[in-house]
């Protein structure tokens, strides 16, 4: 299980669920100048950035993954969260996503000059999503929509690596208990295993970030515990990879983080030899 090869012929599937509700306007992690919506936009843009770079090869990009992004909140509806040229799109190949960001910013970054020194370089940083916050939090409906997308995808890729659904939220569902919907989603899958659901909890509460816990002990509130309950266990490969990347994943670790930016989650799938010293 969870051993299907991911390749252009047998792509993987990522679906991101973005909480764009009004409560995301509240401060993030006890901060006075950063809102949860800002944090969410940073995380999703970084995740898509890393995923695109992971699939880049030579001067092109390989379609190792299909990607969907569902937003829930604005006008209390659930829909594709893509904007601009991708507006309204459902699951798209990573190449289409990478080639169509909302905009590309120039950012300066210190990087290796290739001879052992550091040099300040201007790098392109694409953005697909802006901070958005309005309406309720129809999280259960978002999981239902994800299930519909997964259902279609697994029918087309019955032997593929199971889809991974990553929900980024402050945790307060307003359309009922999302746990059964998450469990229903996990009942769908491919010959290679059940769909995996991961949750990234962005809270207004300050406190230490929590990454990939094996129990809900020490989680700060009922929303965190609920999201932990909705989160799938990591596969043995993922636990190994998380450890290599310096994340504290032990036996029984689940795909749940609290007030952290787990951009390494993109590395949890094997698409070939990954140098340990690649940063």
């Amino acid at each position: 299980m969870y051993s299907a090869e991911i390749s252009r012929k047998n792509p993987g599937c990522f679906i991101f669920l973005l909480d764009q509700s009004a409560s995301m306007e509240d401060p993030f992690g006890g901060s006075s100048d950063r809102r949860k919506a800002d944090e969410l936009a940073t995380i999703i843009n970084k995740l898509l950035h890393n995923l695109s770079i992971r699939c880049a090869k030579g001067d092109s990009i390989y379609d190792y993954f299909h990607v969907g992004v569902v937003g829930y909140g604005q006008d209390t509806v659930v829909k594709s969260a893509f904007n601009g040229p991708l507006s309204g799109k459902d699951l798209i190949p990573i190449s289409e996503l990478a080639n169509n960001p909302l905009r590309i910013e120039d950012r300066t970054k210190k990087s290796d000059d290739g001879t052992g020194g550091l040099v300040e370089q201007t790098v392109k940083f694409p953005l697909w999503f802006e901070a958005t916050h309005a309406g309720g939090t129809p999280m259960s409906s978002a999981f239902k929509m994800a299930a519909e997308m997964v259902q279609r995808w697994v029918a087309e890729h019955p032997k593929g690596f199971p889809p991974i659904v990553i929900n980024i939220t402050d945790g307060e569902s307003t359309d009922g208990d999302p746990v059964p919907e998450a469990k229903a989603l996990c009942s769908l899958g491919t010959d290679d295993g059940a769909t995996l659901v991961f949750n990234i909890h962005l809270s207004s509460a300050s406190g230490n970030p929590v990454e990939l816990p094996a129990t809900d002990e020490g989680l700060p509130d009922k929303f965190a515990k609920q999201l932990f309950e909705m989160s799938s266990g990591l596969t043995p490969f993922m636990i190994g990879r998380a450890k290599e990347l310096g994340m504290p994943a032990g036996e029984g670790a689940r795909g749940f983080v609290f007030n952290a930016q787990p951009v390494q989650v993109i590395q949890f799938l094997d698409i070939g030899t990954r140098p340990a010293n690649l940063r």
Binding site: E5, S7, R8, K9, S52, I53, R54, C55, A56, K57, G58, D59, S60, I61, A98, N99, I104, S111, D112, G114, T115, G116, G117, L118, Q121, V123, K124, P126, R241, E244, D270, I271, G272, T273, R274, P275, A276, N277, L278, R279
Partner: protein
């Protein structure tokens, strides 16, 4: 240790290479590389195999530059990895200046990576010295008559040691990069019937696994004469659960052994 008491004057080596790209990929997407120099030299021969990492860009180019640099040079120890400035500059020159989309430019900025094993052989006393980083392997096969067996596998000696995230040689020298804890060296001497088999990781892991379960494939590997026969072996390895990867085999035998056999 090198057996200086029994030199074989003017002996040289026969080296053959076979390669096969990942199933489903085009031949142009093959990212291993190998190079051989001096197999007809009465004094020395150098062989190198590198495996460009899937998760880096322009890694086939980097693997090719690494093996060429090794066989054209004189280093046979860890210092090889200290003398890569020129070859790194060459990689950068070939990659830079291309109009790349943002993701390709960012990936190239991070550099290419490759596993590497290089061997220098002394044709006079049949001694070999090897240096490696990563999981490209050489296997010293020995024995005759009743069967062939593994004398040494280097730098990995057990199939369970292969993973998906080895430390590799990078085309971009990083500030805090120190490859030396990851450099492995070894040496040996080839007896008249011995062979050195070089293999990229997936093939090496399979050959070791076969030996571990007492079903060695050494004779099958040594019997390969054509690309078709190599592809048939690769197909067998893949059916046996080996991961889908580029596969490279370089086989070195003593030429005096061939003469003796004919």
């Amino acid at each position: 240790m090198i057996d200086a008491l029994h030199p074989v004057s003017a002996a040289s080596f026969s080296v053959e290479a076979f390669s096969c790209q990942k199933a489903g990929n085009a031949r142009a997407e093959y990212e291993d590389a190998w190079a051989i120099r001096g197999s007809d030299s009465p004094t020395r021969c150098r062989v190198a195999v590198a495996d460009g990492a899937t998760e880096s860009s322009f890694s086939a180019l980097w693997a090719a530059l690494l093996v060429e640099s090794f066989v054209r040079g004189r280093s046979h120890g860890p210092d090889f990895f200290n003398r890569l400035d020129a070859v790194r500059r060459l990689w950068r020159r070939k990659v830079r200046g291309r109009p790349l989309p943002w993701y390709a430019a960012e990936k190239a900025r991070r550099g290419a990576y490759a596993a590497f094993v290089g061997v220098s052989l002394n044709a006079v006393n049949q001694g070999w010295r090897a240096v490696a980083i990563g999981d490209c392997c050489l296997m010293h096969v020995t024995g005759n008559g009743t069967g062939r067996e593994l004398a040494k596998a280097f730098p990995l000696s057990h199939s369970g040691e292969f993973g998906s995230s080895p430390f590799l040689v990078g085309s971009v020298k990083k500030v805090d990069d120190n490859p030396f804890p990851y450099v492995r060296v070894s040496e040996g001497v080839l007896a008249p019937n011995d062979a050195l088999l070089f293999a990229s990781d997936a093939l090496a892991a399979w050959l070791l696994r076969r030996a571990e379960r007492a079903e060695p494939a050494w004779e099958a590997v040594e019997a390969i004469r054509t690309q078709e026969e190599f592809e048939s072996l690769v197909a067998q390895a893949r059916e046996d659960g080996t991961r889908n990867d580029d596969m490279t085999l370089v086989r070195l035998t003593r030429r005096d052994r061939e003469k003796g056999a004919s």
